[in-house]
């Protein structure tokens, strides 16, 4: 039997061929693939990244919906206090008697929220800023980058400490601090990509057609920098989780009555020898979140650029 040839184009002559005789001409059926599908496919192939995505989604679901279903309230003390993990309290209880699973879930919710907002903030400010700076070049570029340098010089701790005094260590403050001090990194990354892109023909073509800088940035440059932006955003999420934990460990992050994973660890510092689960368990959750996000970022990096070009800062 012969295989019918199925292609999207009709054969020359306009007559669709019905049969062939003789040797089989094997042409593979190739559907045109859009770029997104290619990217998603490559992501699929990165097994660690896929596994991480699943784990992370599970964690998010558990943190938000699981917390609703769990019967203990994180702020109501129970009669059992300072107990290690048991059937009744899977993660034990703290020194006032709060069920620790409930507290960790609540803390995870808040930490995830902080991390997502920080990454969003950094990307949405940093990417356009870096693209515009890279495109315009010259003196304006220099000034814009020096402003970034100034923000990068500011120590995170000082800003966090000063603002936590006036606002009392709320989640909003921590989000603002981490986001506002983090966007220069995104800007630099995007700018490097743009510096490479702007010598390319399509940008020259756009300019020749009369496109203004804003249009070039948003229509041509940023879409081509998507890979960098997305990867940097995932790094920002991981960085925000760890950054918030570090701030809270030093007492400068989220304060009661708000809670977060870093805050839980910070409160548990003195209990390391006596109630180790209070200290190590939230840390494990942080590690899981940061780990999965980093793998996802790695997968995305591979997916967006299969040649694995060096990523410039």
């Amino acid at each position: 039997m012969s295989n019918p040839i199925t292609t999207r184009t009709t054969a020359p002559g306009g007559v669709p061929p019905q049969r062939t005789t003789g040797r089989v001409e094997r042409e593979f059926t190739v559907k045109e693939r859009r770029q997104w599908q290619l990217i998603v496919r490559r992501f699929y192939r990165h097994r660690l990244a896929m596994a991480s995505l699943i784990v992370l989604l599970l964690l998010i679901i558990v943190a938000y919906f699981g917390a609703q279903l769990w019967h203990y309230n994180p702020q109501v003390p129970t009669p059992e206090f300072r107990t290690p993990p048991s059937l009744q309290h899977p993660l034990g209880t703290d020194d006032v008697g709060h069920d620790y699973l409930a507290r960790v879930l609540r803390g995870a919710q808040q930490s995830l929220k902080i991390a997502a907002v920080v990454a969003l903030l950094s990307s949405s400010i940093g990417a356009p800023y870096g693209a515009i700076s890279g495109l315009i070049g010259g003196k304006v570029d220099a000034i814009m980058m020096r402003f970034c340098d100034m923000l990068l010089v500011l120590p995170l701790l000082v800003v966090a400490a000063a603002l936590s005094f006036s606002e009392g260590g709320s989640i909003t403050v921590v989000m603002l601090v981490l986001g506002l001090l983090g966007w220069p990194v995104n800007a630099r990354q995007v700018r490097s990509v743009v510096l490479g892109l702007r010598e390319m023909e399509f940008v020259e073509a756009a300019k020749a057609m009369g496109a203004g800088p804003v249009r070039i940035v948003f229509r041509h440059l940023l879409p081509n920098a998507t890979g960098t932006i997305v990867v940097q955003a995932t790094l920002d999420v991981a960085g925000a989780i760890l950054g918030e934990a570090a701030l809270s460990f030093l007492g400068l992050g989220v304060q009661p009555p708000d809670t977060s994973l870093g805050n839980l660890i910070g409160s548990a510092r003195s209990s390391i020898d006596t109630l180790p689960w209070l200290f190590y368990l939230p840390g494990v959750v942080i590690i899981i979140i940061a780990l999965t996000i980093n793998f996802i970022g790695d997968g995305l990096r591979d997916a967006f650029d299969p040649r694995q070009t060096r990523q410039r800062r």
């Binding site: 020194d95 009661p256 009555p257 209990s271 020898d273 006596t274 180790p276």
Partner: protein, 582 residues
């Protein structure tokens, strides 16, 4: 090569995991918290001589120091911290010593006697021991007394040149005379100062004169002397049992015995090294690891259980002079009403607060019932229980409110005052890093909820709101002292420590009298009279005395808990290595 790496990686992973699991799971057993261990069981009955015994020569003791040293001149306000004062006790002689049971006794190494010759005008005669000398051989004389007086009286040297931590007691001295080659010192005060025994920690006037460039009391002389002491990297002088051998900034201080020490007991230790550890959570590991032998960190349930589980370490918790209390700001329009205040204090259950905060690791914790005296001091009387406050009696609190015209609003949830206005939210402020205070705040919030009063938890980074008055209810601690005349400032109208703006003229009168009573019994009567009135006015509710903690490796003896501000260093020359095998 490849399979080797694989195996190696696997091996490392497994052993790392095993180690981590092992360390995380090694839960401790051992003595329960709150008990003294080893030879310290008798500390409750005999606080002044528990853990005593014969010493043998030699040994190095490693002690924690929880703050960085800014300067050795502990008379300066910025340098007047507990840790620095402890170290300097080894160098600075004082006429009186405060013992662990709060008794004040004569320092018989330094003084022959110190007697109140006349009460009014107040005159004290000090007789210094003939053999008391500084380590350069200069005898300790009236010159040293005069120097201490002049630079701390706030007049001979102003606050810009000499920003001292305290002038009280020195500022009312009218004159000092001496006899017998300076070994007899007569001090006269223009106003009665009952706490004269706290005065005259001595600094070497000869060194001061050198710093001043010759004439100590010429214009600017005291300022130069002050600066000289302030800038000392490492004092080379000493009038007590030890001298400073080494100081590495921000790292450690080393004391060795003073060869010219004139006292009865010569130090047996070779060295005492104070190590600076800023983060108290690291101290337990250091104790475990043998990197320190003694710590006096703030106790909490975790620290105490961790130390209790350590082998070869004893510890003691004693009720200290620092006491937690809840204050009301009388400038708040609701809290200005006495009935509301009384009801609030009656509803607060102190036993419950204690049970959830200090009781787990300090089994003898009990509510404190006096604003000036601690149990064990001879002036102590229970002034709080008769008022019914602090007992958690919700029914009685409601009665007080009803009698004053308060009712619940329509929903039954909120309290309204006699005019019908809903009583506003009251902020309950506390330092945010203190978990015990946070717990206390939550408990008070729940207790007052039952009266229809809404309490808002307000964590603060520090206590500066005391000065600004921006608080409604606040929990913090005062450091008590056996020298009570200063307490007048805490409770009298416009007093320096009266942060809640309490004012009662009868109380003021009693306090003014108490501040100048030289007779301890009379002083107690006056203070307690004021205290009873103040308790009824419901301004400050004492909660409990904070425990003071000390942990010591078992090889050391004669070092014990001294919860007063004198600290364990009060008998530094007696510390030593245990003579008998442990």
């Amino acid at each position: 090569m490849r399979s080797g790496t694989k195996r190696l990686t696997g091996l490392i992973a497994i052993s790392a995991a095993a180690l981590m699991v092992a360390s995380a799971c090694s839960t401790k057993s051992g003595g329960g918290p709150g008990q003294s261990s080893f030879s310290w069981k008798d500390c409750i009955a005999h606080p002044n001589d528990c853990n005593s015994g014969p010493t043998k020569q030699g040994g190095t003791m490693l002690v924690t120091d929880e703050k960085k040293i800014t300067s050795w001149f502990v008379a300066d306000a910025a340098s007047n911290t507990y840790d620095q004062a402890q170290i300097m006790s080894g160098l600075i002689p004082s006429p009186f010593i405060v013992r662990p049971d709060s008794s004040v006794v004569l320092n018989t190494d330094l003084m022959e006697s110190a007697t109140l010759v006349s009460a009014n005008p107040q005159k004290v005669e000090y007789k210094i021991k003939q053999n008391a000398v500084w380590n350069d051989g200069t005898p300790i004389t009236a010159d040293d007394f005069t120097f201490a007086w002049k630079f701390q009286n706030g007049k001979d040297c102003n606050a810009t040149d000499c920003p001292v931590a305290g002038t009280t007691g020195y500022d009312t001295i009218s004159g000092i005379t001496s006899a017998d080659n300076g070994k007899t010192v007569d001090v006269t005060w223009s106003d009665v100062y009952p706490d004269w025994r706290a005065l005259f920690s001595l600094w070497p006037s000869k060194v001061a004169t050198q710093y001043a460039g010759g004439d100590l009391y010429a214009p600017g002389g005291l300022a130069k002397a002050y600066k000289g002491f302030l800038n000392e990297q490492m004092p080379a002088w000493s009038g007590a049992a030890y001298i400073m051998q080494d100081y590495q900034k921000d790292v450690s201080t080393t004391l060795v015995p003073n060869p010219k020490w004139y006292g009865a007991t010569k130090p047996s230790l070779d060295k005492i090294i104070y190590k600076i550890i800023l983060d108290s959570t690291q101290e337990v590991d250091a104790l475990k690891n043998g990197e320190i032998n003694v710590t006096t960190a703030q106790p909490d349930a975790d620290m105490v259980s961790a130390v209790a589980a350590l082998p070869n370490t004893s510890y003691n918790l004693s009720a200290g002079p620092t006491w937690e209390h809840i204050d009301l700001n009388l400038k708040n329009k609701w809290l200005a009403d006495k009935a509301l205040r009384q009801a609030i204090f009656t509803a607060i259950d102190r036993k419950d607060i204690i049970a959830k905060t200090v009781l787990p690791f300090f089994p003898t914790a009990a509510p404190l019932n006096n604003h000036n005296y601690m149990p064990g001091m001879s002036g102590y009387t229970d002034n709080i229980t008769p008022t019914g406050q602090g007992a958690g009696d919700i029914a009685k609190a409601k009665q007080i409110l009803e009698a004053a015209g308060y009712k619940n609003d329509a929903s039954g949830q909120k309290l309204t005052d006699p005019s019908g206005a809903v009583v506003g939210d009251l902020r309950f402020s506390y330092t945010q890093t203190n978990k015990l205070r946070e717990t206390s705040a939550e408990l008070v919030q729940a207790q007052l909820q039952q009266l229809g009063i809404t309490v808002k938890l307000t964590p603060l980074p520090d206590l500066s709101v005391l000065g600004s008055g921006d608080f409604d209810m606040i929990i913090f601690a005062w450091v008590g002292t056996p020298f009570l005349s200063g307490n007048k400032d805490l409770w009298s109208t416009n007093g320096g420590g009266n942060y809640g703006h309490y004012s009662n003229p009868t109380v003021d009168q009693d306090l003014a009298k108490a501040a100048t009573d030289t007779d301890a019994t009379q002083q107690a009567t006056d203070f307690n009279a004021a205290d009873q009135l103040m308790a009824q006015d419901a301004y400050v509710l004492p909660l409990y005395q904070k425990p003071v903690f000390i942990a010591v490796s078992n090889q050391f003896v004669n070092i014990r808990n001294n919860p007063t501000s004198a600290g364990p260093a009060y008998n530094m020359q007696e510390w030593g290595t245990r003579a008998s095998a442990q």
